[in-house]
Amino acid sequence: MRRKAGFLIPIEVAILEAAVALRKAGQSEVHGYELAKVVQGIRDATRLTAYGTLYKALSRLEREGFLASRWEDPSLAATDSRPRRRFYRLTVEGERALADARAAERETTAQRPAAAAVR
C-alpha cells in the first residue's frame, strides 16, 4: 500500500507537534536537533529519534509543503565555530495537516473502543 499525499506517519505528526510547541514558546524557526529533543518528549521515547528517521521525515514534510526551511548565514556558524544550521518553519499547510492527523487519530481511537478496553 502506498501512502496517500498528505498522510502522516507518527514521527511526522510528532515533528509537526514539536514545531507547534516551539512556536508557542516563541521560536518560529527550529533546527533538526531541537526538533529531535522535543519529539523525544512528545513520544516519551528513551532516546532521540535516529538520524535517518528524523532527516528523512523532515525531508518529506518539506517536500509536502508542511515545513519550509532555510540555511542560516554561514558567517554566523563560523563565528560560533560550529557547522552551519538549517532552520525549519511550520507552514499553514503543515498546521492543517496536523489538525487532519489529530482528527483522524480521534476517529480511529473512537472506532476501536474494544481494542482499547482489553489493554
Binding site: M1, R2, R3, K4, A5, F7, I9, P10, I11, V13, A14, E17, A18, V20, A21, K24, H31, G32, Y33, E34, A36, V38, G41, I42, R43, D44, A45, T46, R47, L48, T49, A50, Y51, G52, T53, L54, Y55, K56, A57, S59, R60, R63, W71, R82, P83, R84, R85, R86, A101, R102, E105, R106, T109, R112, A115, V118, R119
Partner: protein
C-alpha cells in the same frame, strides 16, 4: 568507543549512502547531520554526562536510522537523477513485522500437525520424502522467520526500546538462528528475546496486554517443567484417566506460542501501528 569515533562512523555512513548524489544534496545532508552531532555533543558536555553514554547514543541513532537512510537514498534516485517515489505508508511500517509474525507463527503452528500426520501415515518411522521435508522446513524456516519478526519489531518500534535491550534482543534473535545451522539449543534464545519484546511493547501500550501473556505462557510453562525436572519432581504413569487431558492441556499451552505470533501479526495488520499512541488529541506538548 568514544563519542568522536561514533561521530566519525556516522559521517562515514553519510558519505556512503550519499554516494552518487549531486554535490549540493550530499553537502546539505552532511551539514545537517554535522550540526546535529555538534548540538548533541555540546548538550552532553554541558550536562556532564559521560562520553561513553554519548557514544552509545550516537551509535544507536546511527543504526536505527539506517533503514530510513537507505529508503531516502533510493528516493533520491541513482546518480543524482531525482526519482520521486511515494513513501511507504504507516501500514507498511508495521506490515513487515506483521507479515513475518504471521508467516512464522503459521509455520510453527502447522509443523506439529504435519509431524503427527507424517508419523501416523508412516507407521511411526521416518521414511524421508516430501512430508518430513515440509515438517523440517516449517520448523527451521519458522525459527528464522520468527527471529526476523522479533528483530523487525525492535527496529520498527525503536523509540520504546532502551539501547541495551534493543541490542540484546537483536543479538539474541540472531543467535537463535544458529539453531537452524549448527547449535539446536540456541533456539531457547528466541522465546526469551521475543518475550522481552512483547513485554516492552505491551508496557508502552503498543500491544494489547493479553498478547504478552499469551506469548509468555508457553515459555513460562516450559521453564516450569525444566525447573521441576531440576528439582527432581517426577511425573509418573499413575495419572490414569487424567493423562490425556493433561497432555492436551500441555500441548494447548505450548501451542499458545505460535498462536500468539499469529494473533500479534493479525493485531499489527489491523491496527496498522506499533508505535506508542501519540497524544495527538491532547494538543501540542
Amino acid at each position: 568507543m568514544n563519542a568522536e569515533r561514533s561521530a566519525t562512523w556516522v559521517r562515514r555512513w553519510v558519505s556512503v549512502y550519499t554516494l552518487g548524489l549531486p554535490p549540493e544534496t550530499k553537502q546539505r545532508r552532511r551539514d545537517e547531520i554535522d550540526d546535529d552531532l555538534w548540538c548533541q555533543a555540546q548538550e552532553t558536555a554541558e550536562s556532564g554526562r559521560a562520553d561513553r553514554s554519548l557514544a552509545g547514543e550516537i551509535l544507536a541513532r546511527l543504526v536505527f536510522g539506517v533503514p530510513a537512510d537507505v529508503s531516502w537514498r533510493i528516493e533520491q534516485g541513482r546518480f543524482g537523477k531525482p526519482r520521486p517515489r511515494p513513501e511507504r505508508s504507516l501500514a507498511m511500517h508495521a506490515r513487515l513485522p506483521a507479515v513475518l509474525a504471521l508467516v512464522g507463527g503459521a509455520m510453527w503452528t502447522i509443523w506439529p500437525i504435519g509431524e503427527a500426520a507424517t508419523h501416523a501415515l508412516s507407521g511411526g518411522e521416518w521414511h524421508g520424502g516430501l512430508g518430513p521435508m515440509l515438517v523440517l522446513v516449517s520448523l527451521l524456516g519458522g525459527a528464522v522467520v520468527l527471529a526476523l519478526a522479533t528483530i523487525s519489531l525492535v527496529v520498527v518500534a525503536q523509540d520504546v526500546f532502551p539501547g541495551l535491550m534493543a541490542a540484546l534482543v537483536i543479538l539474541g534473535a540472531l543467535f537463535s538462528t544458529l539453531a537452524v545451522v549448527a547449535f539446536p539449543p540456541a533456539i531457547v534464545a528466541l522465546p526469551i528475546t521475543s518475550i522481552l519484546v512483547m513485554w516492552q511493547l505491551s508496557r508502552a501500550g503498543a500491544l494489547p496486554t493479553w498478547a504478552f501473556w499469551m506469548h509468555g505462557a508457553a515459555p513460562v510453562f516450559l521453564l516450569a517443567i525444566f525447573l521441576a525436572g531440576l528439582a527432581g519432581v517426577r511425573v509418573g504413569d499413575d495419572f490414569g484417566a487424567a493423562t490425556l487431558p493433561l497432555i492436551l492441556l500441555a500441548v494447548g499451552v505450548l501451542y499458545l506460542y505460535p498462536l500468539s505470533w499469529l494473533a500479534i501479526g493479525w493485531s499489527l495488520l489491523r491496527h496498522r501501528t506499533i508505535a506508542p499512541d501519540l497524544a495527538v488529541g491532547a494538543g501540542a506538548a
